[in-house]
Symmetry: C2
Subunit: 339 residues, 2 copies
């Protein structure tokens, strides 16, 4: 990406092993993330482009001398942050704060929207998938790299559980995965706040029981009407806008929790004293997707959850620029790159 | 209180039963709260005074026809919010959000810094104490009305537990009770941020293992030095100032939690994106002190905790104005009114 709206497919030097803890992965599936649309809309034009992509599955081509858990030929999924798997934060299940980790497509690290990636800290980062590289489950498995783990993280941060009413703010891929996660964690009442018919239909398939298509104050009113006037126990903020955060904080009931996973577009949380007086908990952040893969993988393999349905468009690497455009214009929920 | 610095003892009409769910309580002990110092510093002068006080113990003198759990002669403690004990929020243990409850010394309800109080929703509000009205444990029992429950609430919101390092921001009565709560909940490493020698000494007695007397950025540096550079797992914000909140959010480690119980002196929480990227949880609010009395009472009765030691001055009702002054000038930690 060279600036807002300017996505180019270019030939770059081949990825190759550098550290003894690296793996070289030939990408077989990748995707565009809703968070990629922030720079797609706002990035200053520049001479030096920015690699893109942080969601990918691939086949290991080579590994460094110190890599133990993956070998050439393995089909692997990479979470959106790479991590050593051994530091104090990785051991606590917070791999996004790994002391020796980082994120794709920055600081000289390859992006996932490319043919091959040097994966640092391969043992800590990659998870071997027990399927072939063209398995029919690939779309759902690919969501384990980010959006499904992120929806799950939002649900955990919002303290979703049986008997609780959940509100999901945002009907993008993360919001939709948030619905899956809320249902999976036992919620029977899931309100989705969104307005795109195709997404709403999918949300209902995933377990949403109520739809609020109003915005702002009207949406808040509507959620309160649906919840005896109190608001939802658990609110998943899956957008990151100031307005969506205000909405999330306004539809949570006293004693409830808001799980934030939408990348915030402002520094401060737009709270009021009501958040304090109502004893509302605010949690969340970038999901430690790596921590959740083991938990979510069996459900994907068994078909109990089908997060891959968020991909409503598939294309080749050459079609990625149009994928950005389509997602940005809400023509597509999420674009899958098939190599 | 008629305005900042203007506290007067006045004769008012006798408190009496109004509703059938009321109890009339003759106050035997009351106290001044740190939160009473906010109006003591900021209240606009006015013709009509404001009743004060929300922490008291007393003897029941009369009860309405529908009161079942307390009777004349009972020694009772009142939490700082009154509540019906039956609504959905009371049943969830969040009595500060009671649908039919409220707070003392406002909306026509008596304040605790007075000789008698009409207690609405007596069954939900009051807890009978199994001691005489002049028991030596009175100071500690009185803290169950607010500061000990509030410290406990901060510790729960900050997810204190065994093996976790705790930082307590503020060395007032609530911060000191936060130290007690953190120790009681299993923390072995408790850092208190404060600078008053008498309070620090008490904090150490209560279980604080480290003292940080610096302020602002230097305090943050010092806490990080004490915690391998990462910060504390659990941070108790027991002040409510913008600066203390910034400090609290700056000394929490990734994946940690900040429990806020200091009455916020500003609408928004002064967060930055670091709070999000570090997956910091922010919780807390007014403590449902009523919910915690049953849990904390046995420890007070057994002498396992001694929160009453935060009272370093005792006086009569006539001495309350000077008690405000003394607490405001940090001459006293907390003032106990003995009737």
């Amino acid at each position: 990406m060279y600036g807002a709206g300017d996505v180019r497919i270019e030939t770059v030097p081949d990825a190759h092993l550098i550290e003894s803890t690296d793996a070289l992965v030939v990408v077989t599936r990748a995707s565009i993330c809703g968070s990629d649309l922030w720079p797609y809309n706002q990035m200053e034009p520049g001479e030096t482009g920015q690699r893109m992509g942080h969601e990918f599955i691939g086949v290991v081509e080579a590994v460094g001398d110190d890599v133990r858990t993956v070998k050439p030929g393995d089909v692997v999924v990479a979470p959106f942050a790479w991590s050593d798997g051994t530091c104090v934060f990785c051991q606590a299940g917070l791999q996004t704060s790994c002391l020796h980790g980082g994120f794709w497509a920055r600081d000289g690290i390859d992006g996932g929207q490319g043919e091959a990636v040097r994966v640092p800290q391969a043992d800590g980062t990659l998870v071997v998938l027990p399927v072939g590289e063209d398995d029919a489950l690939m779309p759902s498995l690919l969501t384990l790299s980010d959006v499904m783990g992120t929806g799950h993280h939002a649900a955990l941060a919002a303290k979703v559980g049986a008997g609780k009413t959940v509100a999901v703010v945002g009907d993008g891929a993360v919001g939709l995965c948030g619905v899956i996660a809320a249902r999976r964690l036992g919620s029977e009442r899931i309100i989705i706040l969104g307005r795109h018919p195709d997404r709403i239909a999918l949300a209902k398939d995933f377990g949403a029981t109520d739809v609020v298509s109003e915005r702002g104050g009207e949406a808040v009113e509507r959620v309160r009407e649906l919840t005896d006037g109190f608001g939802a126990h658990s609110v998943l903020e899956c957008v990151g806008h100031g307005q969506s955060t205000i909405t999330a904080l306004s539809v949570v009931r006293p004693g409830g929790a808001v799980g934030r996973v939408g990348l915030p577009q402002q520094e401060a949380i737009p709270t009021t004293l009501t958040t304090f007086f109502d004893n509302v908990t605010i949690g969340g952040g970038p999901a430690p997707a790596r921590a959740y893969i083991e938990e979510l993988l069996p459900d994907v393999l068994d078909g109990r959850i089908e997060p891959g349905r968020v991909f409503d468009r598939v294309g080749s690497l050459d079609e990625v620029p149009d994928g950005y455009r389509a997602m940005n214009e809400r023509e597509s929920i999420k674009f899958l790159v098939k190599f």
